[in-house]
């Protein structure tokens, strides 16, 4: 028989406001096995934990029940408390009387009654708990970073600097991501390339970092500390080790009219190309959709001009298997498509562009060599209208756009407006805004400078329609403060398109069993306390894949993710989850059902010799669970007809005891 202690937490008034904690501790005192029951204001506080520790010693408790907040919040805390007092931490059960009781019910009698029942269920379970000891598993001391933008670069550098090996998988031919496409960065106006490219070089030269560019993750198996990852290296038809990046091929290739994705299609590149001058790795890539040699077997110019002999038209996709201890997701973002917002005429006029396109238009390495010229006719635009919140902050029932604020648009639009006025004081610049959101260090000051020093016209209101008339764009908009409908003849309209997670994130999340929110942003393990960890152990989040972020935020999160990875890789062994499946060999039929449903391949079979009562021996096939591989889902327990397979910590008996306690 267990000796159980019950500890009811008030959580200030969070629980005590709707649950009569005294009544709960009194009622639970009468439950079988309970020898001690008390309540206290904050059980998770030091004083509260001391009450638990003292009671364990004084009453020789063999199990405890804490009626408090969600086990997702403080189960670990109270397990540590129990361990400190010499009790096996798995003899602790939590009754969730806050999130699932006091916070969702308003009346005291109802809340109290339910809290007592939840407490009884926990007591019933603890009565059947057994001490568990977690197994250990080794840690592969290498990290994988998926995505080679500023988030991935920073995370990789920080991990590598701590002495661990890091691989970066980037689906584009070069690392650098969106930041490489930007011109200046707010609020300091540093040149993006000037601060990014040295980091890219650091990555390339770091002895602990390997870059898999033009590659993607195709399969992930295993678990924290022991991931088995298959990386698909797409054929780039250029031998990376031989290519010197001289660029001769990219000048001689006769296929000149390929849309240049780095400049967002605003100019062209060749079929063999290096995305930009500072690309890392600086290796050419053949675009198979446009290469005549790959399509029709005719041409071969690049191979002829390549003195290094790096061109290989027969190259195939390659699959590489690697082991990692930790995985960092840094898959970033993209602007959303403007197809559903054609009231702004993005598909009807070349002179309606997105902000990212504007970045390229103002970038010295961009299609206009940094001169602000209209895409349609190359003329200098005299009136420019910026439209904020295009596709952000939309209601779900509006069927288009995103519900969230994209966060970065207010600031980059202020930057664009300011820089335009700075460089071309003759231009009229209008910014239509709903709200200007500038919560960041030196952010509001920056926006005010755009208005006060640079004379950008900020108009509160939204653009209703953009009509291309002749070579002008008629912008019809409301000016809410003047209570007027405006019609502005503009030369260029710039849309602050909402940003969304990269499309590859969804399938990656499935591979990693990491959860996502309804917008396909990765979910953090806890929104406040564990912001860079995913709920899946060993998978970490860096940058905009978790939510819209600017560069400073991204870099700090990247560093935070790196710190978590370093903390993990610094361990030689990981303590596993002891709540794993276990097969009772006497009852096991060896039927293989459990093996078939196990997602981790944790179950194998062996022929076991049994001594029979009549002294003969019998060899039977039985299931054996590898506790280091088992993650404890319990799927096997249900397909086992004999009930030989059970889950520690969530045993059949325990769950049924909870059911009974609730239904009593």
């Amino acid at each position: 028989m267990q000796r159980i202690g019950v500890f009811v937490c008030w959580c200030g008034s969070n629980i005590a406001g709707t649950v009569d904690v005294e009544a709960v501790s009194e009622a639970l005192k009468r439950e079988p096995g309970v020898v001690f029951s008390t309540n206290y204001q904050y059980m998770c506080s030091q004083a509260g934990q001391d009450i638990i520790k003292d009671a364990i010693k004084e009453h020789r408790l063999t199990g405890i029940v804490v009626c408090s907040c969600s086990p997702r919040m403080h189960e670990a805390t109270f397990r540590k408390t129990a361990a400190a007092a010499g009790l096996n931490p798995y003899m602790v059960e939590i009754a969730n009387i806050r999130e699932q009781c006091s916070w969702v019910h308003k009346e005291m009698p109802i809340g109290t009654e339910k809290a007592i029942i939840l407490g009884k269920a926990a007591v019933a379970k603890v009565n059947l708990n057994t001490p568990l000891t977690p197994g250990e598993s080794p840690v592969t001391k290498r990290a994988l970073v998926i995505g080679g933008g500023i988030a991935g670069i920073q995370t990789a550098l920080d991990i590598a600097d701590a002495g661990f090996e890091v691989d970066i998988v980037e689906k584009k031919p070069t690392i650098g991501g969106k930041m490489a496409q930007l011109d200046k960065t707010f609020p300091t106006l540093d040149c993006a390339a000037c601060i990014l490219t040295p980091k890219m070089v650091d990555v390339a030269q770091h002895e602990k970092i390997r870059i898999f560019s033009y590659s993607e993750v195709s399969e992930v198996k295993g678990f924290v500390g022991n991931f088995d990852v298959t990386i698909k290296k797409n054929a780039r038809y250029v031998k990376e080790d031989l290519c010197t990046g001289c660029g001769l091929c990219t000048e001689k290739c006769p296929m000149k009219k390929c849309a240049n994705e780095f400049n967002l299609g605003m100019d062209t590149r060749r079929a063999i190309y290096i995305p930009f001058a500072q690309a890392v790795p600086k290796v050419a890539t053949i675009d198979p959709d446009n290469c005549n040699m790959l399509k029709n077997g005719k041409c071969g110019v690049c191979a002829k001009v390549c003195t290094a002999g790096a061109i290989d038209y027969t190259q195939k996709d390659e699959y590489i298997e690697e082991k990692y201890g930790a995985i960092v997701v840094a898959t970033g973002f993209n602007p959303i498509s403007m197809d559903k917002f054609d009231e702004f005429a993005y598909n009807q006029s070349k002179d309606v562009i997105t902000s990212l396109e504007f970045e390229r238009l103002t970038n010295a390495a961009g299609p206009t060599a940094g001169k602000l010229l209209r895409p349609s006719d190359g003329k200098h635009p005299e009136t420019i209208v910026f439209v904020q919140c295009v596709g952000s902050r939309c209601d779900a029932c509006a069927e288009k756009g995103k519900e969230y604020c994209s966060k970065i648009c207010c600031m980059y639009t202020a930057k664009h407006a300011m820089l335009t006025r700075d460089k071309y004081p003759d231009t009229d610049v209008y910014v239509f805004y709903i709200d200007v959101r500038t919560p960041g260090k030196n952010f509001d000051e920056f926006y005010r400078r755009a208005v006060e020093e640079y004379g950008v016209h900020y108009i509160k209101g939204m653009v209703g329609k953009v009509s291309p008339e002749g070579d002008k764009l008629i912008v019809q908009a409301s000016d809410l403060l003047a209570d007027k409908q405006l019609k502005i003849e503009a030369d260029l309209v710039v849309l602050a398109a909402a940003i969304e997670p990269d499309k590859s994130a969804r399938s990656l999340a499935t591979m990693l069993t990491a959860s996502m929110d309804t917008n396909d942003f990765f979910t953090e393990a806890h929104p406040k306390l564990r912001p860079v960890e995913s709920p899946t152990a060993g998978v970490f989040l860096s940058g905009a894949c978790q939510g819209p972020k600017d560069i400073p935020e991204t870099v700090s999160q990247a560093g935070a993710a790196a710190a978590k990875v370093i903390g993990l890789l610094a361990k030689d062994k990981l303590v596993g989850n002891p709540c794993v499946a276990h097969s009772n060999e006497m009852m096991c039929n060896g039927c293989s059902s459990c093996e078939r449903v196990c997602p981790y391949g944790a179950i194998t079979y062996e022929a076991k010799e049994f001594r029979m009562p009549d002294r003969t021996t019998l060899v039977r096939r039985i299931a054996v669970v590898n506790p280091a591989v088992c993650q404890g889902c319990g799927c096997c327990t249900v397909v086992c007809p004999s009930g030989a397979m059970d889950l520690k910590g969530f045993a059949n008996e325990q769950i049924m005891a909870e059911v009974d306690a609730i239904c009593k």
Partner: protein, 263 residues
């Protein structure tokens, strides 16, 4: 291919040609349009108020009749199409409204089962513009035709689902299929002000002027529409280029205009 067909009152009267050409062209293109019997006026405008039931019943009768005949429903007039389609959508999405409607109706329950095609959708999605192109005998020979959508064909898109409401192409594609040059101009999905013609003629004139001036500035020789009210309103407001129905242009291209005129 057999369809139930709802012409609507204007097409039986002031806009007869829209109806006659529509039937004739459908015949040539192999679609059988069978007119709904004993139909009533759709109501001319869809009242968005949720408590207006009686005014929507005539549309429901049309929809029910098509369902009874187990056929999809075809409409030509943009206004009728908008009213009937919005009514159908209201029945599909607003259970309370559907309940009220069905309590008014004696016969079987109607729950929005009927599929509705605008004549243009019939051409694009059922017959196919390729097929239309094959049947052209009098090409428009590059005539500069401006498609005028107005508001009723495209909006609200969550209900109409005909084309991109901001950058449509269905009429332009038809114009191209019958050999015309499609003139794309910004006001093609702007309202002509037809519904306020009686109440505020000046406002209607202003809106119509905006539309045809935009078309003419873009070089249009003729404006094409599917809506009798738009046509009337543009003409009444002094449009200097001809305003014709889509079916008229189509009948001409298919070489059946004279046949139809005789009818």
């Amino acid at each position: 291919m057999k369809f139930s067909y709802f012409p609507g009152c204007t097409l039986k009267n002031k806009a007869k040609i829209l109806d006659v050409y529509a039937r004739k062209c459908a015949e040539v293109l192999g679609a059988e349009l069978e007119e709904i019997e004993n139909w009533q006026c759709c109501g001319g405008v869809f009242t968005t108020a949720k408590d207006e039931v009686a005014t929507k019943l005539s549309s429901v009768r049309i929809l029910k009749e098509a369902l009874r005949k187990e056929t999809d429903l075809v409409t030509v007039c943009s206004a009728c199409h908008n009213v009937v389609k919005q009514t159908n959508y209201a029945i599909q999405t607003d259970k309370e409204f559907a309940g009220k409607v069905n309590r008014y109706m004696a016969e079987d329950e109607y729950n929005g089962e009927t599929k509705i095609y605008h004549y243009l959708e019939l051409l694009r999605d059922v017959i196919g513009f390729d097929k239309v192109k094959e049947k052209v005998v009098n090409s428009l020979n590059g005539k500069k035709v401006a498609a005028y959508y107005g508001c009723l064909l495209l909006r609200p898109n969550s209900v109409m689902r005909m084309d991109d409401p901001e950058n449509p192409s269905i009429i332009e594609d038809l114009i191209r299929a019958i050999g015309g040059e499609a003139i794309v101009y910004p006001a093609r999905n702007e309202c002509c002000g037809g519904y306020v013609r009686l109440e505020s003629p000046e406002l209607a004139n202003k809106k119509s002027n905006n539309v045809f001036n935009s078309a003419m500035n873009a070089g249009a020789e003729v404006i094409v529409t599917a809506c009798p009210l738009c046509k009337y309103n543009l003409e009444k407001s002094g449009c200097e280029i001809p305003v014709v129905y889509i079916t008229e242009l189509l009948a001409d291209a298919l070489g059946v205009k004279e046949d139809a005129d005789e009818q």
